[in-house]
């Protein structure tokens, strides 16, 4: 009996180390690119993400085909010509969250360092963000720049093309405990 209790307590301690996990309840990913001829923006509300607060792990996965553009032809070109979504359907990130304290209330500035994969190319990145602990939920906001060249996304040289060299990505994730 004593032994059983010991195991139980020990297990709780160890597995508690697995931490509390939060999964995305609502997500919005926007990107915006400011270009000479025409600004380009798109929104994706189908992104997925998990945070393990104890371990400080965070991961997200964004289906490229779910980015909605105002101009459908642009959306088709985005997927077909530039991001090659048939070959590389998702952008993913997995990394460690730094500076997060679940006990503190209010908005806190955090960073996530890890590996961002877009268009099949993985780069080590350091992404700033702000996270707020609400009663049961977590709200994460982040804004960062993606340089197309870093991910081997070609920028067309032809006239009439209107793709900028970098895009600004905004993440808005609301998590609930799993």
């Amino acid at each position: 009996m004593k032994g059983f209790l010991l195991i139980l307590v020990w297990s709780l301690i160890v597995f508690d180390g697995l931490g509390q996990r939060y999964i995305v309840e609502k997500s919005t990913v926007n990107f915006f690119s400011d270009a000479t001829i025409e600004d380009i923006s798109a929104e994706n509300t189908k992104a997925n993400s998990i945070i393990n607060t104890q371990a400080g792990d965070i991961a997200f996965s964004i289906a490229m085909r779910e980015f909605q553009f105002e101009k459908k032809l642009m959306q088709e070109h985005f997927n077909e010509k530039y991001l090659e979504s048939e070959k590389f359907p998702k952008a993913t990130f997995s990394g460690k969250m730094i500076g997060f304290d679940q006990a503190s209330k209010g908005i806190q500035q955090v960073r996530a360092t890890g590996r961002l994969t877009i268009h099949g190319v993985t780069a080590n990145v350091d992404i700033p963000g702000a996270i707020e602990v609400q009663t049961t939920k977590l709200v994460l906001k982040s804004r960062f720049i993606v340089k197309l060249a870093d991910y081997n996304i070609k920028i067309p040289q032809l006239m009439w093309q209107n793709i900028a060299e970098q895009v600004e990505v905004t993440l808005n994730f609301t998590y609930q405990p799993q």
Binding site: G17, L18, I58, A59, W160
Partner: protein, 289 residues
Amino acid sequence: MKFILLFVTLFGISHLTLAQDDLLAEMEQQEKVTNDFILGTFHGTRMINGHTVETKHRKSLEFIITHRFGTLNSGGYNLWGLDNSSIRLGLEYGITDRLGVGMGRSSFDKTFDYYLKYKLLRQSKSIPFTITALGTASFQASLREKFPTLTTSEKMSYVTQVLIARKFSSKVSFQLAPAYLYRSTVNQDTAVNNLLSLGMGGRVKVTRSMAIVAEYYLRLNEHDATPFNDSIGLGIEFETGGHVFQLVFTNSLGMAERSFMAESFGDYFEGDIHFGFNITRTFQLSGKK
């Protein structure tokens, strides 16, 4: 006892270190790919003269200008055909992402054409082809010059066509397009009213925005005494933003279905080749999803 404690501890630790990749793998399992249908089997709605499986996106309008000069072998006096030209002005609109409607007017034979186009199937991981059905009706106004007594219905012709295409890779797409053409009025000594033909065509991309296209329409049951030839076309196309430019060489002067499917009078191999171009511009009429 110690063994069990050790096991639980190790298991917990190994779990921790794996956690990061686990998160991605875990999401991978949860996610269902909902729309994996293939995009951009062809750049435009026209291969050269005939249609491709592509339709316009919902609420987008395409303005199509197609142009054919005279034949290359018509000599320097005619500036190798550039003195003469045949033009078609057309509009195509996407009612839904799959259903399109269009109309056009060709200077050749003063022909008006109207069509409906519907994408029945879209190629995806589980579906090997994109299949589009096309129905057209054309009115050949110029017939009244020679045959003033013909009624409107006698100047009509109709096409029902099934376009079947497969994008084999990001560079290579092919299409087969059996067609049934009904012409109300033909010269019974040289033509049949009900003509079946088999269209075939393809595109090979040279760069991301530039491709070579080819098209051939084989007439299957035309009258033996036909003075016409099968339609052949070769072209280069450029896709830039909302435009598609095609520079084409074809033995067909007319651009309505009846004209090229059944009544291409040029002999490609004798040099009766018309240089021409197709230019399209797509306008998105309403934004927001």
